[in-house]
């Protein structure tokens, strides 16, 4: 397939960056084995920059690679990010996992990415019924922070309001404790403790995960009902106020647990209680690194 203007711009930026030695690695997308898929590409040589591409099939959050030792060793890195993914970069900077000086952010304007399961079936249209829920609530079609910006050639996403993003959350909230319990017990029952959710998350960067700590073993490792619930609880808790909503955990889950219903619910709660949204400002203090004397107090006797 021919290069689009977007692709050309990306390739030019990448070439310049590599040639000038400003970065020694660029993480981006390239066309996948079939036309409806994009896969990650690691470019270290200028001649490979021509393979870079971007399309509404560029679903993956590439920021996840920034936590890998194999990537870190390159030092100065360039990365191609959509608005949602870029927030992960910001959060990583906020949490000292990468330094702003060591990263060149190549932001791409994105008007939504097509849900992979329907793209695989041949869907090519970007519309409110084909994109992920996260795209419907996206406020960062243009990344909040970038060194280079590649504008989109795609039309703006039109929202009629007919498709309600994350509508399940409201339904769950209205349930009784028993019903919620049953809903999640049923979901977590499927969990096979493969930890793909963790591996796919750009912000799960601990070198030893809490679940791997065995003195004491707070979270049961075998895949049974109570341990599964604990794992999913602690994963969500550790991401509360941090999750940037890229949705990679849910996409990675082989048994389709609706993890974004948890992440998104926590994002809403944290915003309502503390007015904080994750990943918008590299200079902001993370919400659980600070407190206010006037914090929400109603639940305490």
């Amino acid at each position: 397939m021919a290069n689009t203007k977007t692709d050309e711009k990306l390739q030019k930026i990448a070439k310049d960056l590599l040639e000038s030695g400003e970065v020694s690695l660029i993480i981006g997308y390239t066309k996948g084995s079939n036309s409806q898929r994009m896969r990650p590409l690691f470019v270290t040589r200028t001649e490979d920059a021509d393979k870079l591409s971007f399309s509404p099939n560029a679903v993956q959050d590439l920021a996840v690679f920034l936590k890998k030792a194999e990537v870190k060793k390159f030092g100065k890195i360039g990365i191609v990010v959509k608005g949602c993914d870029e927030k992960a970069v910001n959060a990583l900077i906020q949490e000292y996992q990468i330094s702003r000086d060591n990263i060149k952010i190549i932001g791409v304007e994105c008007n939504g990415v097509i849900r992979q399961n329907i793209a695989d079936k041949g869907e090519t249209n970007v519309s409110e019924s084909t994109v992920y829920d996260k795209c419907l609530i996206c406020e960062e079609h243009i990344p909040v922070l970038y060194d280079f910006l590649v504008e989109s050639e795609e039309p703006k996403l039109v929202l009629s309001g007919k498709v309600k993003p994350y509508s399940e959350i409201a339904r769950l909230e209205s349930m009784s404790s028993e019903e919620k319990n049953a809903f999640w017990a049923n979901e977590f029952d499927k969990c096979i403790k493969c930890y793909a959710c963790r591996q796919a998350c750009p912000l799960c960067y601990c070198s030893r995960c809490i679940v791997e700590k065995n003195t004491p073993q707070w979270i049961d490792t075998n895949s049974e009902e109570t341990g599964n619930a604990q794992w999913n609880l602690i994963r969500a808790y550790h991401l509360s106020g941090r999750c940037i909503g890229c949705g990679e955990c849910e996409r990675a889950c082989p048994v389709n647990i609706p993890l974004m219903l948890i992440n998104e619910k926590m994002a809403i709660d944290v915003y309502n209680m503390f007015g904080y949204k994750s990943g918008l400002d590299i200079n902001a203090k993370p919400v659980f690194g600070v407190f206010s004397e006037n914090d929400f107090n109603d639940f305490i006797k």
């Binding site: 419907l136 609530i137 406020e139 309600k164 993003p165 994350y166 509508s167 959350i169 409201a170 909230e173 998104e264 994002a267 809403i268 915003y271 309502n272 949204k277």
Partner: protein, 314 residues
């Protein structure tokens, strides 16, 4: 509880830009500007024309509730202005101009209460049968001129500087108080009107009773009190050598202007201070014909002042 709604922050409009975008500025005249203070509206519309700013009168507007409602029925006092605001907001306007100090005070107070009290908001929006989200900026005349139009823009239109004229600004109570709600200028020592006076080329006169009560609400019930209070203001202005007074409030205007003859008789001391609206003064400095500004509509004739302006400009 819609997620998308929750996560979308209210986007605050920057009103200093895009003035030319017609239809963004709603205009709430209130009763005074259509009646006893018609000079205010006439002069206002003339200077807006000169400034090339279009405002749209809020369709089917109703009483702001100033004179009586707020002392009788709290819900009514909020609902009346809320209805006007809701019409404007739902009509897509981003800001409201309420030239009358009492109107702007009522609109802002209602907006403030609706912003801070969810339960009241529910009650009121139910009763006016319209949603209201407190997303507009509400401006009194001075806020509008300084904040929305901007001093620089006004300066460019001053064709006939009023240099040599000494002008006292009288703020009264409602423009800047209560400070928590008005959020505008220093409540005890306001200066914005003086700044506007300075732009016209006239000399602002400092005096001691800028924010002292004119007696306003007692106008009909206790005229003696009003005369004493308004008298204090007028004689202090006179003592500081002003040629005229400017105001931005119809009620201030009527007390200072209409009662002036009575006060002169009661205290047996001449005043002869024409009382103009700030819009009229600006209009004069723009070189607009006094007649077009309805300056002949006041009780204390401004002839002497107009003559002085003519002489000074020669």
């Amino acid at each position: 509880m819609k997620v998308s709604e929750k996560l979308h922050e209210a986007k605050s409009g920057d009103n200093s830009e895009n003035l030319s975008a017609a239809g963004k500025l709603a205009y709430y005249p209130g009763c005074s500007l259509k009646g006893t203070s018609f000079e205010y509206e006439v002069s206002l519309l003339r200077i807006l024309e000169a400034l090339n700013i279009e405002v749209k009168e809020i369709p089917d507007w109703n009483c702001c509730g100033a004179s009586a409602a707020h002392s009788i029925n709290h819900n009514l006092a909020v609902a009346l202005p809320a209805r006007n605001l809701a019409i404007a907001e739902n009509g897509g306007y981003e800001s409201v101009l309420a030239p009358c100090a009492a109107c702007s005070n009522r609109l802002k107070s209602a907006d403030y209460e609706l912003k801070t009290d969810e339960i009241l908001k529910k009650k009121i929006t139910d009763s006016i049968e319209m949603p209201y989200n407190s997303e507009m900026s509400i401006n009194n005349m001075l806020e509008f001129l300084i904040g929305v139009v901007g001093k620089d823009k006004i300066k460019t239109l001053v064709k006939k500087p009023l240099s040599g004229l000494k002008v006292a600004s009288y703020y009264g109570c409602l423009l800047v108080r209560p400070p928590k709600i008005m959020q505008f200028d220093d409540p005890e020592n306001p200066v914005t009107m003086d700044e506007l006076v300075a732009i016209t080329g006239a000399e602002p006169v400092d005096y001691s009773f800028k924010t002292e009560c004119c007696g306003a609400i007692n106008s009909l019930s206790k005229p003696d009190v009003v005369m004493a209070l308004t008298g204090n203001v007028l004689y202090d202005i006179k003592k500081h050598g002003a040629d005229l007074v400017v105001v931005a409030c119809p009620l201030c205007h009527s007390n200072l202007d209409v009662r002036q003859r009575e006060i002169e008789r009661k205290y047996d001391e001449k005043l002869g201070l024409p009382v103009l609206f700030i819009t009229e003064l600006l209009g004069l400095s723009f070189g607009i014909d006094p007649k077009d500004l309805a300056i002949d509509g006041h009780m204390v004739a401004a002839d002497r002042v107009l003559k002085k302006i003519e002489e000074l400009s020669k």
